[in-house]
């Protein structure tokens, strides 16, 4: 899968490129509007990660130009640190697929990209096998030997996010932000995510041993696959 990062902060683009490269994506980078335009007209991408404030122009202009080219299905995720309240709405109305406010976590970016992939290319496998559990992303269900587990929405979200970021420690803060969003001040007390994880683990453990569902002391959780 091909990704174009349009971002004037080279350090940030570089870190994103490293991370996404390890995930198996091919990454290109444009750091100003003119070079981004060139790349967009020449190639098509699976994802365009678009910063709004660019040297030489606004990210929205780029988005509008892209939407005028017929037959293009590049998914656009806006990444911005701009403070304007209506940027999110404006971006989504202009045809962006998602919007992430900086600073974001790379694992969160990955989760958003996966969600878009599932939405856009319906052929994507919607069931993931985790040891003997089957995670049905489309129907928000987890099954074991054909038997449906009774998970709450939040528990499913947590499980899904950990599975998506398998073999990687996900901190409580990161997990909380993913599941509850960017609720101000509430994050300060992130231990409450433990209650949900505890319940989730209990429900999974009824069916099979879950030594692969690891608690990383004082940090967070990891699912090993």
């Amino acid at each position: 899968m091909k990704i174009l990062i349009v971002e004037d902060e080279k350090n940030l683009a570089l870190e994103m490129a490293i991370f996404l490269g390890k995930e198996g994506y091919t990454v290109e980078h444009a750091w100003k509007k003119s070079s981004a335009e060139e790349k967009i007209f020449v190639n098509s991408y699976d994802f365009i990660l678009l910063d709004l404030g660019l040297p030489g122009g606004d990210g929205f202009e780029l988005l509008n130009q892209l939407k005028k080219i017929s037959g293009r299905e590049d998914a656009v995720i806006i990444l911005t640190a701009r403070g304007a309240v209506d940027d999110r709405i404006k971006g989504l109305e202009a045809g962006a697929d998602d919007y992430l406010a900086k600073p974001f976590s790379l694992t969160e970016l990955l989760a958003r990209m996966h969600a878009i992939i599932r939405r856009k290319h319906k052929l994507e496998m919607n069931e993931v096998m985790i040891h003997k559990f089957i995670l049905d992303i489309r129907n928000h269900q987890v099954c074991f030997n054909g038997e449906k587990l009774n998970l709450t929405n939040k528990e499913f979200e947590i499980f899904n996010y950990l599975v998506l970021n398998k073999n990687r420690v996900i901190s409580r803060v990161n997990l909380t932000e993913h599941v509850w969003g960017d609720i101000l001040e509430i994050n300060s007390d992130s231990n409450f995510v433990d209650v949900h994880v505890k319940n989730l683990r209990k429900k999974l453990a009824v069916h099979a041993a879950i030594e692969w569902f690891e608690t990383v002391r004082s940090i967070g959780y990891r699912i090993n696959l």
Binding site: M16, G83, W180, E185
Partner: protein
């Protein structure tokens, strides 16, 4: 009271005072002048009488002693002559005013009493003239004055009201358009109000230039907020992603991993502080719309659902008693944040197995929402400082950054909601949100 009415009232009162004073003066001087006139006439009559006096006439007058000579129907005048013992020189001559009953009609008379000597004998002449004429005149004049007074007052009141209204119209226009109806300096109407009064022109210009300054400040602040967002959040982004990439390094020791996670946590805290401060600034900078129709009952229910797990964690009992719902226009996500902050505070500072009571009271003054907890409470000083940014109480939870109530206050102020705290140390805290009607 409006300036227009005050001016009209002032004008009316001064006119009433002036006309009343004039009326009293006129009446008094009429009284004085006419008395003088009567006295003058009486003296003339006396001289004439004495000049034409004959023995026959004296006898005639003396025989009619005790009766009145009336040569007019209205008994306006009378004459009495008496012979008196020889008195000393000089001869007496004086005026008196007396109530006299003459042939059944009781009237006030101006009387001249004069002694004179005729052919060696001393006589006392009493000449009287009624004052009823003057009383009638006085009465007529006072009625007339009163009438003039009423007419003048009414006419001037109407004229004053009309004129001050015309004169003050630009002032009221300024007050209405430029002061009362302004809540957003950015969309201020700079068009000058039409007036020829210089003072109003100056007032209008001053308000406009002040508004212009405020609008500029507002825009500068908006720009500043945008800059801060970008300039602070971008480096945090870079750090965040860099640290996350470091975690992917397979050679990383678990100690290194711990330190990186600690760094990420600190970064997250920094991000949270910046975002909170930005939120407060944006709210105070009016960068949010207020177009959502919000139901308090529904929003509270939503917040509770989201916080359910935290209630369970602390084994808290929660009672929601909102009998009548309140709906108003505002910003849904801000109100959600407001209630979220307040209720999660009620959870955070509660005692295990405590209670949270959310209830409403509807009065003619508006809708009141109360959030009551059985928590640790605050003392008076803490209550006073509760809304101060970065102020933290009883916070063993080091993660708290002390901006929750500051956020709540600015959101409440943005929606004209009054937020007050009542608290007793060790007993609990009650928060009141008062929504205007």
């Amino acid at each position: 009271m409006k300036l227009q009415f005050k001016l009209a009232l002032y004008n009316t009162l001064t006119k009433v005072a002036i006309i009343t004073l004039l009326g009293i003066l006129i009446l008094a001087s009429i009284n004085h002048i006419s008395t003088k006139h009567i006295q003058q006439r009486l003296l003339q009559k006396k001289s004439k009488l004495i000049l034409n006096l004959s023995n026959v006439e004296i006898n005639d007058l003396l025989t009619k002693q005790g009766t009145f000579t009336d040569y007019n129907l209205l008994k306006e005048e009378y004459i009495i002559l008496k012979e008196v013992a020889n008195t000393k020189v000089p001869l007496k001559q004086y005026f008196i005013t007396e109530q006299k009953s003459i042939e059944g009609s009781n009237e006030e008379y101006q009387i001249l009493i004069a002694d004179f000597i005729y052919e060696g004998k001393t006589y006392q002449l009493e000449l009287g003239e009624t004052r009823s004429n003057i009383s009638q005149l006085e009465h007529t004049i006072s009625v007339f004055t009163f009438f003039i007074l009423i007419v003048a007052v009414v006419l001037t009141l109407i004229a004053d009201l009309a004129f001050t209204q015309f004169l003050l119209a630009p002032l009221y226009q300024i007050i209405d358009k430029k002061l009362n109806k302004v809540n957003d300096p950015i969309n201020f109407n700079y068009e000058p109000v039409a007036t020829t009064t210089q003072d109003f022109k100056i007032l209008d210009q001053s308000i406009s230039s002040l508004m212009n300054k405020i609008a500029t400040l507002f825009l500068t602040e908006k720009e500043f907020i945008a800059n801060v967002s970008h300039e602070l959040l971008t480096p945090i982004s870079i750090l965040n992603t860099r640290l996350e990439n470091l975690l992917n390094d397979e050679q990383l020791t678990s100690e290194g991993e711990n330190k990186i996670f600690a760094c990420l946590k600190t970064l997250s805290r920094l991000k949270s502080i910046i975002n909170s401060l930005l939120l407060i600034s944006k709210v105070e900078n009016n960068q949010y719309h207020k177009k959502d129709s919000i139901s308090i009952k529904e929003t509270v229910a939503e917040v509770f659902e989201e916080l359910q797990h935290r209630l369970m964690m602390m084994d808290l009992k929660m009672e929601m008693n909102i009998s009548t719902d309140h709906t108003f226009y505002g910003n849904q996500s801000l109100i959600h944040t407001l209630l979220m902050n307040l209720i999660s505070n009620a959870i955070k500072y509660n005692i295990p197995s405590g209670t949270i009571n959310v209830y409403s009271l509807n009065s003619k003054y508006g809708f009141g929402l109360f959030i009551e907890d059985t928590g640790k409470g605050m003392d008076a000083e803490q209550v006073q400082n509760a809304f101060v940014r970065f102020e933290k109480f009883q916070s063993e939870k080091e993660d708290s950054h002390g901006l929750g109530l500051a956020i709540a206050r600015s959101i409440a102020a943005f929606h004209q909601i009054e937020l007050t705290i009542e608290s007793h140390k060790g007993k609990g805290t009650r928060l009141k949100l008062h929504f205007p009607n």
